[in-house]
């Protein structure tokens, strides 16, 4: 069976500037991968390119999702196929309630799979269960999407969306940034509760902190647009202790 996600020699950039310089990565169902690296290494770019962010141009390589090429698909088609990006900076949408937005998204996914749309009443039942995961009451659903939310609330909202949309592959882009310890615990618990043998997580993070809560099977270090080292959970601890310099130094010496 094809891996859930297979990235082959991916090159991508923005406005003529190359940021990803040949990424290779294989993610199988049931796995959690952490992508770590210094600022500006291309971690967030990688997550956004897989999700189809229109600002980036793919200049080489392949992104295969369940064996099928993603790179020609619109962002919504990728989402419908089962890709989810939890944003580093979730967008505020004043004038659209969380409830309306989530149901619209949920129904678009259902439509794309040939299923009937879910009516608002049934959707409320579904939400009730998902809200528990992020320790929220129903009031949050009547607020406008992320509008006036605290940093922690925005990240929780991303996890709530993920819980409702049930992606096969979730890319968490610096989900831990700007979180206090309680919010971090809630977000991590949500992710852990949603882990299944048939889905996978790619967790992009600068710090090891989140990985105490979401334990990765694999850790990859990205520097200057390339994965320079891969390992198990222990690698994250080593990075925490030593910083990135010893590795980026190795990379420089190798080239």
């Amino acid at each position: 069976m094809a891996p859930l996600l297979e990235i082959k020699n991916l090159r991508a950039g923005v406005a003529g500037k190359e940021i990803l310089k040949g990424i290779n990565l294989v993610v199988n169902a049931g796995e959690v991968h952490a992508i770590m690296g210094p600022n500006g290494s291309g971690k967030s770019t990688l997550a956004q390119v897989v999700a189809g962010h229109p600002a980036y141009e793919v200049t080489g390589g392949e992104i295969l999702f369940g064996g099928a090429d993603l790179s020609e698909l619109e962002p919504e088609e990728r989402a419908q196929a089962g890709v989810f990006l939890a944003f580093q900076y979730p967008v505020e949408i004043p004038g659209v309630t969380n409830a309306y937005f989530l149901r619209a998204a949920y129904n678009e996914l259902r439509k794309s799979r040939g299923l009937e749309e879910m009516d608002p009443i049934d959707f409320i039942d579904l939400l009730e269960e998902k809200l528990k995961l992020v320790e929220w009451g129903p009031d949050i659903m009547q607020r406008a999407v992320n509008a006036g939310f605290s940093g922690g609330e925005k990240k929780r909202n991303e996890i709530l969306q993920m819980a409702v949309l049930e992606p096969k592959l979730a890319l968490l882009d610096e989900t831990d940034s700007g979180l206090d310890i309680d919010a971090l615990r809630i977000v991590a618990n949500g992710v852990n509760a949603l882990k299944r043998p048939d889905n996978a997580y790619v967790v992009v993070t600068h710090y090891q902190r989140l990985l105490n809560h979401i334990v990765p099977d694999f850790v990859h270090v990205l520097a200057d647009g390339q994965i320079i080292k891969s390992g198990g959970k222990a690698l994250a601890l080593e990075l925490e202790a030593k910083g990135y310099e010893w590795l980026t130094g190795v990379a420089e010496a190798a080239t």
């Binding site: 189809g52 619109e74 919504e76 419908q80 989810f84 967008v91 004038g95 659209v96 678009e108 949309l165």
Partner: protein, 434 residues
């Protein structure tokens, strides 16, 4: 062009107009004389700088003949799912009692102008043509001279009217080439509460006609009025409207405007905070596509101290549509402690759409808080990507975000049935370019 309207006036004066009371004959005569002198405005006139009314002036519009035959089913799309509300319907300029509903609530009187002239001549003499000066613009002159009928809405002191009053001015497919001059007078008694909506609608999107409307609102002390205005004329038609509100002490005026019809549409909304401790909230939304020109001019007169005004107008313009917003706020030297805020935001959905926005604040008092802001922008690509990354297709996302932009204004409508009907109308309209 001007003479044809003078002839319409003379024909009407000789016909039904002869029965009018002397004071009204005088006002009408003065108005037609004024129009004969002024003619139509040109773009050299500062007030009409961005809006050429040449197509109206050259249009050769004639007085309406027999109105088109309409049934209640034809009106259903405009009635907010509440056909039982009190309603006055004018078809092609003529009152149609069979489509109208008399009010049943105590304290509310809704009649035609003809009925009001017969039943309450003093009230009419006190108010008609006193709030909108006949010579305010050439169009108000023409309306005053040629309006043959219209509506008078009155609330008695202390009455609280729980159901919105709906005034419907509808043009049928038979309206091609005609001009109508709808006229509305509202007198809200002391401490009374009233919700009302004027709808200017068309049954055909191709009919070329001209609506020249005037509304006068007199708010007595302590009254509360929510005044809606829905302009969904034919996109081949023309709409000129002028509304003036006079506010007495402790009164609270709240308006919402939805303007999305007309090849050329212009609305002036003026409110005079003419006594201390009055408040005016003005919310508006204009939506243009194709080659539509939609122009809003508002004027808030802060004449007295301790008054507050709050104004938010938003626009969504697609294709080659052109929006105009001019917001005047005049604060007299007496009007200390004025609190006024004006906001105008326009979303341009295409490169060829444009808006001319001009805040115009003239402040002669020193202890006031007056602010204004205008923004013009496009849809935020990050917001679109966010929606798409959740599986929402680009086109749906664009509509969702555009509607969200507009909804901020629509959601200020206090009546739930009207609010949801307008949200639906706007959602259906957005994302459908020409």
């Amino acid at each position: 062009m001007i003479e044809s309207y003078v002839r319409q006036f003379e024909a009407a004066a000789a016909n039904g107009g002869a029965k009018a009371p002397e004071w009204l004959k005088g006002i009408r005569q003065g108005a037609i004389d004024g129009f004969r002198q002024s003619g139509f405005p040109s773009t050299k006139d500062e007030e009409w700088r961005f809006t050429s009314v040449a197509p109206i002036a050259r249009g050769g519009f004639v007085a309406p003949g027999a109105p088109g035959a309409l049934s209640l089913a034809d009106l259903a799309p405009f009635l907010f799912d509440h056909p039982e509300w009190p309603r006055m319907v004018f078809v092609d300029g003529r009152f149609d009692s069979s489509l109208s509903n008399a009010p049943t609530e105590l304290g509310l009187t809704v009649t035609t102008i003809a009925e009001a002239l017969a039943a309450e001549p003093q009230l009419m003499e006190r108010h008609f043509g006193r709030h909108v000066r006949p010579d305010e613009t050439p169009f108000t002159s023409l309306n005053t001279a040629l309006a043959r009928d219209g509506v008078v809405v009155r609330t008695s002191p202390g009455s609280e009217i729980l159901v919105p009053v709906h005034l419907v001015f509808v043009c049928s497919a038979a309206a091609d080439g005609i001009v109508t001059h709808p006229r509305v007078l509202v007198v809200a008694g002391e401490r009374s509460r009233l919700q009302m909506v004027e709808s200017y609608v068309s049954l055909s999107d191709r009919t070329r006609y001209w609506t020249n409307a005037v509304a006068e609102v007199s708010m007595e002390a302590g009254s509360w009025v929510e005044h809606g205005r829905i302009q969904r004329e034919s996109e081949a038609g023309y709409h000129i409207g002028f509304t003036h509100v006079d506010q007495a002490r402790d009164s609270h005026y709240r308006s919402f405007s939805l303007a999305m019809g007309g090849a050329i549409a212009r609305h002036n909304l003026h409110t005079r905070l003419g006594a201390p401790n009055t408040e005016a909230l003005l919310y508006g939304l204009y939506i243009g596509r194709g080659d539509q020109l939609i122009d809003t001019h508002t004027t808030i007169y802060h004449d007295e101290p301790n008054c507050r005004s709050w104004e938010v107008y938003k626009g969504v313009l697609d294709d080659r549509a052109h929006g105009v917003f001019n917001g005047k706020i005049f604060v007299t030297p007496e009007a200390q402690k004025t609190d006024a805020k004006q906001t105008n935001r326009t979303l341009l959905l295409s490169d060829s759409a444009r808006v001319d926005t001009k805040p115009q604040l003239e402040i002669f008092a020193d202890d006031v808080k007056c602010t204004h802001g205008a923004t013009i922008g496009n849809l935020d690509p990050m917001s679109a990507f966010y929606c798409q990354s959740r599986g929402i297709p680009a086109e749906v996302a664009r509509r969702l975000l555009t509607h969200a932009f507009a909804a901020e204004v629509l959601n200020e409508v206090t009546s739930e049935p009207i609010r949801s009907a307008l949200n639906h109308v706007v959602y259906e309209r957005l994302g459908v370019a020409r």
